[in-house]
Amino acid sequence: MRGSKQAGLLLDEPLIFERSRPGRMGCDLPAESDVVRECLPAELVREPIDGFPEVSEPEVVRHFLRLSQWNLGTATTFYPLGSCTMKYNPLVDEAVARLPGFANLHPLAPDEYAQGALQLMWELQDMLAEISGMDAVSLQPAAGAQGELAGMKMIRAYHRDRGDPRSVVLIPASAHGTNPASAALTGYRVQQIEGSQLGLVEADAVRRAMDERVAALMITNPNTLGLFEREIAQVAEAVHARGGLVYFDGANLNALMGVVKPGHAGADVLQFNLHKTFSTPHGGGGPGAGPIAVKAALAPYLPGPRLKREGNLLRWSDMPARTIGRVRSFHGNFGVLVRAYAYIKALGSDGLAQATAMAVLNANYLRVRLQHTYQLAYPGLCMHECVFSDKPFEPYGVKTLDIAKRLLDHGFYAPTIYFPLVVSGALMIEPTETESKETLDQFIAAMEAIAREARETPDVVRAAPTRTPVGRLDEARAARRPVLRWQPRTEAGASGGER
């Protein structure tokens, strides 16, 4: 007998502002002396901030602990959010990132006094270069999108320096939204490349689209359908043949480690998403890190300063002459880099290859086990993720959103939904390698149960979720009349946050 403990008690919790009581304190600091008046002109001095919380330390702890309990995370359950590589975040990485030697180091500490940090970054650059088959790496970008942005700026500088400024970037329809946004932010016009019947970018299509206005092709491989772009080499050739560059979105590297190096497949510029492939926590939205790697021809353009070796010492260079400059203050998300470094060290060449192999095995296992219940967007082997559509449930009025919500009732987070845009009602499932076969089997059972419900009692699915702390929230109404913050009570009884 296995008991089901899935229904349980979660504790209610108001906004921190609603817990506030005048005069309550969460810290003990000496009362302000008169010195303030001597130090600052009176007209500059602000009153203590009205509406700021006044709560004791135990209340703060209880508040945030209770909030935390309303979240599912990959540490507590299967979180098959496609394109996000929600793998297990090792606890040792959390511990080492907090070592005082890292946590208390000032970014402008003299290089001589930060050699451990510089050594770590130096080695991490090398590791990433080896994994990607690229020539040079900058760790500065704060996230994948910022890596893309840096990449676009570099491509722009490269063409400009060759006296050949270009205006267009080709992007497949299945690309992640950050790709066109990053290209546009760099002044490029985005031209969409349609995928083939098989969901792939064809070299022929690229060849047709390529001309001298095209600065680059941005390609994601495996693409967001979880498919390997088999013509990647020919595609790259087609781009290069007309003087273009290949930007390789490396967000899906978890499918490639030890199998293919993008640098050998024609990539000129590539960003890593360390918070995906290298397991740094997603933090409920971030921080991540998006190091950018390039082939030698583009190395002069990398964001600066750069690390350099001087005898036994590592140092930060001055701004290189042709760099695009900075994309982030200081040295990037160092705390995230520490975790990624620790992760790569822990896995090593064998572990990384095993991670890729098992991630791909897990995705294919889900694919074959679910393909008779849900409609696979594209047939054949997949890489690290697979994409289904809600087509089979159209007759019953059950949509992808309903299926996703019903999964929550089963204690699973939902897959990425309605992305990629090229699949209508997409359910994009990325299991990662850190999930066991038993977990996948439980997920499959839940998906099958939902499919049965969709046919037999579709209302149940449409009413989901019912076991979560709140029911389905009205997002449309929230957007029409946005309440984006709590308001201090202006008169008795009225409060913006509470309505």
């Binding site: 602000r46 040792v92 293919v260 919500k405 979720p465 929230l473 997002e475 709590w486």
Partner: protein, 446 residues
């Protein structure tokens, strides 16, 4: 491998289900030519104890982390109560991602809603987003937003006293973003923006004026006067704050006329961590909300009328709007936003103010004592919070000598401002006990 649960039996069963014989068959779609060179030339994996030992050895080589330091310049040493990290270590927070499914992400969403409220209050503006990467990119995004709001304008004035790295990042972000003229506004002897210059330069083509608040020299700009100088031009006033704690004691930019106020939140509960991750703060007026970059959380209700929170106004964002999005940002700095939220909740209304007063007092005491003799004098006469510039001949050499004596006595401004060759920038906060200040005086002399 300890993170991967697959047993040999599992692999066999799963391969059979997939219908292939071997794991390598899963990669059939990868052309053989590419696969040939896929092998990684890295050391093999190691047990956890070795990972830890390696990282401890590296950390130990960062001797700067344990030294008495007065370096600020955009990253500030502050005491972080243990509660903050205790909450950050909750796996339900750190192992979740963007709250796409609000019903099982209310923890993250409510905390962000609180964060937005706190940031808006701190700047005294109406609305704040759910975080940017850092103060630098927040500044760049503010400039882009001002340009977006006023497509007919093409000039941006950035005070030369804005953090040099923020200026660099803004410059990078603007590359290719159209024909934008980025010009730098000089500072006066008080360390503040040269208002006469500004009045003359700001014109109808000027989309925005960006000032540091406090600025890179620690000086508190006269925002009212800046605002007045801009009146005719109609340019937007953007403030950028690297030391957010200052706003607990100096007038908020929103109440002095800023249209967009951005900054870096590291001071508010985030460790230095060699400069990252911190968190970018971004606030503006409600009427501009649909032009804002970044994520927003809003209040919502379920059918039963229960209050909850959701991601909202997503039509501004890249995943919906793609090349027409207000920004390309996707992953942001949510966990650090949570740190700020916990920190500000704990410090609270009066605690934060007291802490700011303590910083003010200690910094002013330190400058007064340093400049009590003939060796140093204040470089700027403007008001300051917890950071200031002193000048004296051979400042660079003095800094190195202090370093040899085990004290990181600030940074030399010469690397960013050739005209400030003999100037040192020092930050003094609550972590600097009176004894620490004594030691500073001892190594720098007076």
């Amino acid at each position: 491998m300890r993170f991967i649960p697959h047993t040999a039996d599992d692999v066999r069963a799963m391969l059979a289900a997939v219908g292939v014989d071997d794991v390598s068959d899963l990669f059939r779609d990868v052309p053989a030519a590419l696969r040939a060179s896929g092998t990684l030339n890295l050391p093999t994996g190691v047990p956890e104890a070795e990972v830890r030992a390696a990282l401890e050895a590296l950390a130990a080589r960062n001797v700067g982390a344990s030294q008495l330091s007065f370096i600020g310049a955009g990253a500030y040493p502050h005491f972080v109560p243990a509660v903050v990290d205790g909450i950050l270590q909750r796996a339900e927070f750190y192992s979740a991602y963007t709250p796409y499914q609000p019903e099982v992400s209310q923890g993250t969403l409510q905390a962000i809603f609180e964060f937005q409220t706190l940031v808006a209050m701190l700047f005294d503006l109406e609305v704040a987003n759910a975080s940017m990467y850092d103060g630098a990119s927040a500044t760049a995004e503010a400039v882009l937003m001002a340009l977006r709001l006023q497509p007919e304008r093409h000039r941006v004035i950035v005070a030369r006293s804005v953090h040099p790295e923020y200026r660099q990042v803004a410059q990078t972000y603007l590359q290719g973003a159209g024909d934008i003229e980025l010009i730098e506004a000089p500072f006066g002897e008080d360390g503040r923006l040269d208002l006469a210059w500004l009045g003359a330069q700001a014109d109808g083509a000027t989309a925005a004026v960006v000032v540091g608040y406090p600025n890179f020299f620690g000086v508190i700009e006269d925002l009212r006067a800046v605002r007045a100088a801009l009146r005719d031009s109609g340019a937007m006033l953007v403030t950028t704050t690297a030391e957010a704690l200052a706003l607990a004691i100096v007038q908020a930019p929103g109440s002095l006329g800023a249209d967009i106020a951005v900054g870096e939140g590291q001071s508010l509960g985030v460790p230095l961590s060699y400069g990252g991750p911190g968190v970018g703060l971004f606030a503006t007026r409600t009427r501009h909300v649909r032009s804002m970059p970044g994520r927003l959380v809003g209040e919502a209700a379920d059918e039963a009328g229960r209050r909850g929170y959701v991601l909202t106004l997503a039509t501004r964002e890249q995943h919906i709007r793609r090349e027409r999005a207000t920004s390309n940002i996707c992953t942001n700095h949510g966990l650090m936003a949570l740190a700020v939220t916990v920190y500000l909740s704990l410090l609270g209304k009066s605690g934060l103010r007291r802490l700011a007063a303590l910083n003010l007092e200690r910094a002013h005491c330190a400058r007064r004592r340093l400049c009590g003799g003939a060796r140093w004098r204040p470089r700027f006469s403007g008001p300051f919070f917890n950071e200031f510039v002193i000048t004296g001949s051979g400042a660079g050499a003095a800094l190195e000598q202090a370093q040899r004596a085990g004290v990181l006595a600030g940074v030399s401004l010469a690397r960013w401002y050739p005209e400030l060759e003999d100037a040192l920038l020092l930050a003094v906060t609550e972590v600097h006990t009176p004894a620490a200040i004594d030691r500073l005086i001892e190594v720098l002399g007076t």
